[in-house]
Structure formats: structure tokens, C-alpha cells
Amino acid sequence: MPSDPPGWRLRRPRPFEAMRRYHYRWGEGLWSHLFHRVSGIALVVYLSMHIWVVHNLQKGREAYDALMKTLSTPIFRVGEAFLLAAVLYHGLNGIRLVAMDCGLGMRAHRATYWIVFGVCAALGIAGGVILVFCLA
């Protein structure tokens, strides 16, 4: 190994080495973490676009309302349904993580994961259907 950056005591691990070496268990814990990560990144991307879009308020009433009308068409309503799913999963699972950090529900972590998943699916589908079929 060439000189390692400070902070790596022995050598820098190769990408995904930990997953292979330590037989990372593909269970609820991994999926809950992976989905949390993916939904978090999606929300950062969305929030950045959202801040940029709302900044068009400065262009005045007509321009802003025209933009909002476009963003309320069916294709964007479908996008909103995915946004709802991401924010539901990330938010509910985030509360579950905070609860476990406080020592609550540690033993029930598998059960609470499925509860989060179920509530997220139910609310996501119901809310998504309303967004796409009732509001679009």
C-alpha cells in the first residue's frame, strides 16, 4: 500500500471489503439502513430542486402561478407520490432509530421495522392514490 491517509491505522480497506469480510447479514437491519440512506439522498436532491423552484416567487405572480400549474399536472403528481413514500419511510424509520438510540424498542427492532414498513406502505399507497387520481 502506498502511504495511507492519517486516520487509517493499518491500511485503507478496499471498497465494500467490510461487507465481504464480516459476512454482513442481509436482514431487516441492512435493508432498513439501505432504504434510509437511499431515501435520505432522494430527499436531499428533492429539497435542493424545491428551494430553487420556490425561489421563482421573486419573478412575480404570473410566472410563479404558471410554474405551479405545470408542477400540478399528473406526471408531477406521480413524482409527489414517490416523494411522499420517501419522506414517510425516512421519517418513520428515523423516529424508530431515535427511539432505539434512547433504548426504546431495542429487542423489538425487527417487529418495529415491519411496523414502519407496513405503515409506510399503507399511508404511501393511500396518499399516493389520492395525489394521482383525486388531485391530478
Binding site: 435520505g40 429539497l47 430553487w52 405572480r61 409527489e80 428515523g94 389520492i130
Partner: protein
């Protein structure tokens, strides 16, 4: 941030809990309470009340740092090279600051036309 990262860890949890409440109100209002809620007239009516401006600025100040601090955590998980990490930290900080400024200006400088 401090040496062990516990300040950031705590911030991620505290801001997450706050965002949970704010995003519920925001999403219900803007996406379900009628299509006119997102039109200019309704935005102007809400922004006439300083409490709604405060709501949006607190939301912004919680969500942008939470999201980008989260991205920094992900970078630390996968990026080993010190140079790349430093570059990512600069880019992440810049992105967060720019978005905070744009968002803050949008809300604070709003005057209805």
C-alpha cells in the same frame, strides 16, 4: 465538529425529530388542502403572517443542514482518500450554504406584487 462526531450525531437526531413535525404540517397543507395552496395568492396570504415565515425559516434551517450533514456521513463511509474527503467537505458545505441563502432570501425578502 468535535473529535468523535457526537455533536453531529445528536444534531441529526434532534433535527430529524423537529423535521418530522414540520414536514407533516407542510406536506398536508401544500399537497392535500387544495391546489390553490401553492399558488401565489395563498403564499402571499401566509407570508403576511410572520409566524408562517418563521415556520418556513426554521424548517429550512433544520432540513438543509440535516440533509447535507447526512450526505457527509455517507461520504465518510465510502470515501477513503483524505484529499477526496476534503474536497467533498468543501463542496457539501458550499452547497448547503448556497441553498440556505437562496431559501432564506426567498422567504425573508418576499413582498407581494
Amino acid at each position: 465538529m468535535n473529535r468523535t462526531g457526537s455533536t453531529g450525531w445528536l444534531f441529526q437526531r434532534a433535527s430529524g425529530a423537529l423535521i418530522f413535525v414540520l414536514v407533516a404540517v407542510h406536506f398536508a397543507l401544500m399537497h392535500y388542502m387544495g391546489p390553490e395552496k401553492r399558488l401565489y395568492a395563498d403564499v402571499a396570504r401566509r407570508f403576511a403572517n410572520p409566524l408562517w415565515k418563521t415556520f418556513d425559516i426554521v424548517f429550512l434551517a433544520a432540513a438543509v443542514p440535516h440533509g447535507w450533514y447526512g450526505v457527509w456521513g455517507i461520504v465518510q463511509d465510502y470515501v477513503g482518500s483524505a484529499a477526496l474527503r476534503a474536497a467533498a467537505l468543501v463542496a457539501i458545505t458550499a452547497a448547503a450554504l448556497v441553498l440556505l441563502c437562496i431559501g432564506f432570501m426567498t422567504v425573508a425578502s418576499f413582498h407581494a406584487v
